[in-house]
């Protein structure tokens, strides 16, 4: 019982803390189909927040709105606002490339580019900086950050596609880091991995918190519970509940949340 109260307290305090991602009345339509309804969410800075909910509840759609990659599909319409680090990403003077730089994304299937390990890590760096002298340091730092350096330091020039899926996914995280993102969005980053790979990547994500704000979509209840500090439960395009992960999994407020967590639907 005490644990619940403490978590409640933490959440209340979190509402006062500055939000890394803050949405106000976010609505999104694919053509005539409304996928998100009045999303009002404060994702706290520097922690891991997981997004859970049944398939089609809008969690991936929400995730893909935060770096505006949804808009590539011409038929998406958005109303409301999303602030990232206090800046509205839909403001008229916003440069889309800057949003994408600040808000990195990791996909369900590892998608290393068909280049060497080294060139993968440097890809983003080279887009934005011409500093060749720094390249070795950039590679080492990024790969160390994702706990991959010792494994691959002797074969940096080999194709990234030769790595295991787990290593590929870590590499996909590593190549975001040199462009210095503030937020990392992860769309079921472990669902293509075996249990051992999942554990390793989860461990990495846990290491990265603090330096980055991490928003992670997952189907895996156990993963949400293990690897996130706050948890958002979505259903039919709406946010049902947003509390500390411990609270949600022990004493969920809503019946829908409880039913989903206990596996009554999904």
């Amino acid at each position: 019982m005490w644990k619940g109260v403490l978590a409640e307290f933490a959440t209340q305090e979190s509402n006062a803390a500055p939000a890394a991602i803050r949405t106000r009345d976010l609505n999104l339509w694919y053509g005539t189909f409304q996928a998100l309804f009045d999303i009002n969410l404060n994702v706290r800075n520097g922690i891991i927040t997981s997004l859970i909910g049944p398939s089609g509840c809008g969690k991936s759609t929400f995730l893909r709105s935060v770096n505006r990659i949804n808009e590539r599909l011409g038929y998406v319409r958005i109303a409301g606002s999303i602030d990232v680090m206090g800046n509205n990403i839909f403001a008229p003077d916003v440069e889309l490339l800057q949003v994408r730089k600040q808000v990195g994304m990791v996909f369900q299937r590892p998608n290393p580019l068909p280049l060497s390990i080294r060139d993968n890590v440097l890809f983003g760096h080279r887009l934005h900086e011409a500093n060749k002298a720094a390249e070795n340091d950039v590679v080492e730092k990024a790969l160390r950050e994702v706990l991959l350096w010792d494994k691959v330091k002797d074969r940096l020039n080999q194709p990234a596609i030769g790595l295991s899926l787990e290593e590929q996914q870590k590499l996909c995280i590593a190549r975001l880091l040199p462009v210095k993102p503030r937020v990392l969005l992860m769309d079921e980053p472990c669902s293509a991995l075996d249990p051992k790979g999942t554990e390793a990547v989860e461990e990495l994500i846990w290491e990265l918190r603090g330096d980055y704000t991490i928003l992670i979509v997952t189907h895996n209840m156990a993963q949400a519970r293990r690897a996130s500090e706050e948890c958002v439960f979505m259903l039919m395009g709406k946010v049902v509940e947003h509390t500390a992960t411990d609270t949600m999994f022990v004493t969920p407020e809503n019946k829908e949340t409880a039913d989903y967590i206990e596996g009554r639907y999904g």
Binding site: R72, G104, N111, F123, R175
Partner: protein
Amino acid sequence: MMFAASGQNDKDRRIQQLYFVLFGIMTLLLVLPVLIILTTLVVKGGPALSIDFLFTKPTNGMTAGGIFPALLGTIWLVLVALLFSVPLGVAAAIYLSEYAPENVFTRIINLAIINLAGVPSIVHALFGVGAFVIFFRFGTSILAASLTLGIMTLPVVIVATRESLQAVPQAFREACWNMGATRWQTIRRVVLPNAVTGILTGIILEVSRTAGETAPIMFTGAAFFLPFLPQGVLDQTMALSLHLFVVSTQVPDMPEHLPFGVALVLIGIVLIMNSVSIALRMYLRGKKKW
């Protein structure tokens, strides 16, 4: 016995064998004409082939000598046509595949490209006369003929390029965009390097198509016979395809082996180009890593 054949099984098997034989014969019929043409050409035209045949001028009212001016002319025509159609076709394909929004306008363009591929070559020829020979005052010249050929083969380049661009996985593009790459940076650094092989094979196929065409160059730049070699793109030229037509039908007392020799050279160029294209594709597909 649980797995014994029933009467229905036997009937099904007979029908299956019937279709197997039927389709096999159809396939054979498809290959047969090609084999007959090739063997005839080799048997009848083979004796005409020699280094001299390839590298000397025709003499004695074209009934003797070689085909060098026509061979050189075909190379001119193909190269100038490529200079025009490859940059245009590749750029158009990049726009259509990577930039163009999905709307009515884009659909109209795509329809136009399909239709361009279906326009008969003689219509292209007349268009070439009107546009390049007369309107742009290029006269009957390599330039006019090559531009006509180039327009005619544009759809080949566009379609081949677009297909190889679209074969590059979308995940690569998303990966780039999420590191803040512009569309052009994405295309330049990731999409094009992975599509270049497909584009190349498309271009080689275009070469073989261009080399064989006759109608578009007849009125726009190719001559029956010229006593001199072309010096520049505003000169007329002889060309293999037209030369074949001339020596087969227009010149009396033609020794039989000569037209067959010309045809053999022409089809040889086309076959070599196609083989190179196929070999390149197979080699590079083997190297692909996704």
